[in-house]
């Protein structure tokens, strides 16, 4: 005889403002098999949980329904409370009165009636719940870090230093990411390469880190602690062991007119190339798309000049299969380029450049060796205009968010320009100056007060070329919306930070959520900023949203701690809410007829056919079998099974049917 306890939570006023919780409690209390029913302001609080624990003992409850928020929020809390009260945790169910009722309806009779209906369904369901035991699975103590920018580097080093293995995958030929392209960093103006390259070398030399550059994640299967990851090592057309990195091939390659990605198209590179002098690993790759040999079938000059015969033209891509316990996604970001801006000429003016291009111009290792020369004719610009919020905070352009880093790097750019071109004039058009951060606002004030950068609060409507000069038309909103026209030699757009190319594709491979801008989504915006909604996959850096270096590094260390915590356990426990094929004594074995329909529909490849043999070893019966380590409890196999031989623990056909019947029946 079931004895169900019902606990109605007010959630402060979140539920009680629209639902009459007292009425819900009374109505449910009258139901058959409900032994106890009560209400409380905060059921998740310590006194609330004690209320549940005490009631279980006092009323000898066989099931509990907590009528509160979404189970995504507090199901673990209340299941734990039940376990502490002596009840199997899977005999506890939640009725979602907040998201499904009080938040979406107005205060009236009908809302309360709906709340009662929701609780009734769970009362009917919990009567049919059975005691379940969590599944224990082993943990593979190797982590995968996707992306070799500063966030990935920090995560990999932190995990490796806890003594666990790390595999780092980077799709370009070198690690380093965007940070390796930067000239100086705010707010200290120290050289980006100088603080980054030692870290890059550390990654390459760390005994616990295996580095795969020019490689991409091909597929991800499995679950927390037990991922199976396939990695495609793109052919570098090179025997990395034989290559000494002498660089002779890169200097002799006759194809030299390929826009250099590292220089943001402001310099050229050969077809066999090392992206930049401090690259890790410092070994070239052949860009097969542009290599004369792959296009025309002739050339092979690199092969001829190579002193160690390391070139391998017929090298195939290699697929590696790895067992991985946890994944850190650190794939970074990209920026919009000048061609995104019709009002600034769709990128047709050579001297309208983006922020990353300016970084390369200002960088000592850049195409101009750190001299600020404009791309069109190599002249040093006397008048330079920086446009902040190019694309960001502009819903008309589809980017409503603030890109966060631009205010600071624009101040840095203007400052670097003034430090290099003393007689030059720097103007910054801005909407607001967002310089929240340690020593950040002081840095911006320095640009304005000590380096005399002319800050103009207003937007720029258009940039066009006339007589070799760029005419920048804008408005000064602090001078009563007065039009401003500046005749500039160069314009730098602080373009919006956007999700990196391939982010959506990767998110789908990993089964993690992403937002409408294709940035990876965190599990909770405040309390789980490092986790994704897929257990065992964590986020680091600007793949989540644009971030500066300190933020990216902090989050990367956070992700590393999450991985280390996971690896500190020898076994993981999993929810036992998995599908099961019924089994019975011979000669029946199971009602399953081995039609195999469930096998192809399973998204997790968790189903196989099992054979039953008699004493002579003859196969007498076949039936489906579910690997509970792989099963995610989605229920697709239950729906397709023609003989109703599969059921789902925790969501059995009988339980779901009982919920539906409860709704159909008047009470």
């Amino acid at each position: 005889m079931a004895r169900i306890g019902v606990f109605v939570c007010h959630c402060g006023e979140n539920i009680s403002a629209t639902v009459d919780c007292g009425k819900v409690k009374d109505a449910i209390g009258d139901l058959k098999h409900v032994a106890f029913s009560t209400e409380y302001k905060y059921m998740c609080s310590d006194p609330g949980q004690t209320l549940i624990k005490d009631a279980i003992k006092e009323h000898n409850l066989t099931g509990v329904v907590v009528s509160a928020c979404s189970p995504r929020m507090h199901e673990p809390t209340f299941r734990k409370a039940c376990a502490e009260g002596g009840l199997n945790p899977y005999l506890c169910e939640m009725a979602n009165l907040r998201e499904h009722c009080s938040w979406v309806h107005d205060k009236n009779e009908l809302t309360t009636e709906k709340a009662i209906d929701i609780v009734r369904t769970q009362v009917e369901k919990v009567k049919l719940n059975s005691s379940l035991q969590p599944i224990r699975v082993p943990v593979t103590k190797t982590s995968l870090v996707i992306g070799g920018g500063i966030a990935g580097i920090q995560s990999a080093l932190d995990i490796a230093n806890t003594g666990h293995k790390v595999v780092m995958v980077e799709r370009s030929p070198s690690i380093g990411g965007h940070m390796s392209q930067l000239s100086e960093t705010f707010p200290t103006l120290d050289c980006s390469q100088c603080i980054l390259t030692p870290r890059m070398v550390e990654v390459a030399q760390h005994p616990n880190i295996t580095l795969y550059t020019y490689a991409e994640v091909e597929s991800v299967e499995g679950f927390i602690g037990n991922f199976k990851v396939k990695i495609r090592k793109k052919a570098k057309s090179l025997d990395e062991k034989a290559c000494t990195g002498c660089g002779l091939c890169t200097t002799k390659c006759p194809q030299k007119k390929i826009p250099n990605e590292f220089e943001q198209g402001m310099g050229m590179r050969p077809a066999i190339y090392v992206p930049f002098p401090q690259a890790v690993p410092n070994r070239p790759v052949i860009d097969r798309e542009h290599c004369t040999y792959y296009i025309k079938g002739k050339c092979k000059i690199c092969e001829i000049v190579c002193p160690t015969k390391a070139i391998r033209f017929d090298q195939p891509d290699e697929i590696l299969e790895l067992e991985i316990g946890a994944i850190v996604v650190a794939t970074g970001f990209d920026i919009k380029h000048a061609d995104f801006f019709p009002e600034y000429g769709y990128g047709k003016y050579k001297d309208v450049i983006d922020g990353l291009q300016f970084e390369r111009l200002a960088s000592a290792s850049g195409p101009t060796a750190g001299v600020i020369k404009r791309p069109s004719d190599g002249e040093i610009p006397k008048n330079i205009v920086f446009i902040a919020c190019a694309g960001s905070r502009d819903p008309a352009k589809g980017i409503a968010y603030c890109s966060k880093i631009c205010c600071m790097y624009t101040a840095k750019h203007a400052m670097l320009y003034k430090h290099k071109v003393h007689e030059g004039k720097a103007h910054v058009f801005y909407m607001d100056i967002r310089s929240g951060g340690k020593n950040y606002d002081e840095f911006v004030r320095r640009a304005i007060e000590e380096d005399y950068v002319n800050y103009i609060r207003g937007r720029v409507s258009t940039v066009y070329e006339r007589d070799g000069k760029l005419i920048v038309k804008g408005v000064d909103t602090l001078l009563g919306a007065q039009p401003v026209e500046i005749v500039a030699d160069m314009v730098v757009l602080a373009t919006a930070g956007v999700a990196n190319s391939g982010a959506e594709d990767l998110a789908q491979k990993l089964h993690v959520s992403y937002d409408s801008h294709k940035f990876f989504a965190e599990a909770h915006p405040k309390l789980k900023p490092v986790e994704t909604n897929t257990a065992g996959i964590f986020l680091a850096g600007a793949c989540q949203n644009p971030k500066d270096i300190p933020d990216a590094v902090s989050q990367a260390s956070g992700a590393a701690v999450k991985v280390a915590a996971l690896f500190s356990q020898s076994e993981l426990t999993r929810e036992p809410l998995v599908a099961v094929v019924n089994r019975m004594a011979p000669p029946l074995y199971s009602t399953c007829v081995a039609c195999g329909m469930c096998k192809p529909v399973c998204p997790y490849q968790a189903i196989e056919l099992e054979e039953f043999k008699n004493r002579e070893g003859k196969v007498v019966k076949k039936a489906a079998k579910i690997n509970e380590g792989l099963c995610q409890g989605c229920g697709t196999c239950v729906a397709i099974c023609r003989s109703k031989s599969i059921d789902l623990y925790g969501y059995s056909n009988d339980q779901v049917y009982a919920e539906v019947v409860a709704l159909l029946n008047e009470y």
């Binding site: 019709p342 009002e343 000429g345 769709y346 047709k348 258009t462 066009y464 070329e465 006339r466 005419i471």
Partner: protein, 295 residues
């Protein structure tokens, strides 16, 4: 090639298309009207004036009364539907804008559509396809241009679109709002070289043509100055309002800026007419205030 230029081309040789002239084409911009009809004749297209057409409301109606500003164009469109004109060309950019905006508003709001139908006491379905003059050229003239060009239009030109041809972009869904291209492409096909012209969509002063000629002089003067500066031999337009501000008000402009700008302002249809060898008079070139010396 931009998406908006990839519209299917109708190859059949004889076409019957409705035309809504509006007030300017029968008055101050008769030259525009003449050139449109001359082109239609040369390319075997029959242009049928929508019978009993009325004012589109222009800039006045939508400042005073929303229902009126929708009812006036709705009546024009309903008349076109009644007379079986599925496709109408609207050479005036202001009329074009009013007609498309009305069609869009009434499509969004069925209740409003019913109310406006009652106001105009006519059935309104909103099925007509409305083209501006460049879309019309693109669809019917350009594909037939092969072999017809007798005088390559070898001139540097500044294509001036004005505001109403491409805005509001979300409603018109025609060309790009900043730095539009369609007229430049048409002119290139005639042999012209369009200059990189940042004043393409800057304001000419529009309706202030009558009440505040000083404002028109100031704004239109900048448009002309930049075109001259870039070495253009003509400004090409597709809007009667732009034309009258840049052409008819030229003496005011020159007085205001103390200049002697002589650059002619021609309609895109006139340029095509000249290229296919129509006489200057037939395409209305003799009616301009600023003498057109190019041919």
């Amino acid at each position: 090639m931009p998406e908006y230029l990839k519209k299917p081309v109708n190859k059949s040789s004889y076409m019957k298309i409705g035309i809504y002239p509006g007030c300017s084409l029968t008055g101050s911009s008769r030259d525009y009207n003449e050139s449109v009809f001359a082109l239609a004749e040369a390319f075997n297209i029959e242009l049928v004036q929508i019978p009993d057409w009325n004012c589109c409301g222009a800039t006045a109606a939508h400042n005073l009364n929303k229902d009126l500003s929708l009812a006036l164009p709705a009546r024009i469109l309903a008349l076109a539907e009644k007379h079986g004109l599925d496709e109408i060309v609207v050479p005036c950019a202001a009329c074009y804008s009013r007609l498309v905006v009305t069609q869009n508003e009434l499509k969004k709001d069925p209740e409003l559509k019913n109310r406006i139908s009652e106001v105009i006491e006519m059935d309104y379905r909103g099925t007509s396809r409305i083209s501006n003059v460049i879309e019309w050229i693109d669809k019917y003239i350009i594909p037939e241009l092969d072999g017809k060009i007798v005088n390559q239009f070898n001139h540097k030109v500044a294509c001036y679109y004005g505001c109403l041809l491409v805005r509001p972009n979300k409603v018109l869904n025609y060309d790009r709002a900043e730095d539009p291209q369609t007229m430049d492409i048409v002119m290139s096909k005639l042999g012209a070289s369009p200059v990189d012209y940042p004043y393409k969509t800057e304001c000419c002063g529009a309706g202030f043509s009558v009440s505040r000629t000083d404002i028109v002089s100031k704004l239109s003067g900048k448009i002309i100055e930049d075109a001259e500066h870039r070495g253009a031999e003509a400004i090409v337009v597709a809007c009667p309002m732009c034309h009258s501000n840049l052409d008819m008000r030229r003496s005011d402009i020159n007085k205001y800026w103390k200049t002697e700008y002589k650059i002619p302002v021609i309609f895109v249809t006139q340029a095509i007419g000249l290229a296919i060898g129509l006489p200057a008079k037939k395409v209305g070139l003799k009616r301009h205030f600023v003498e057109v010396k190019i041919s």
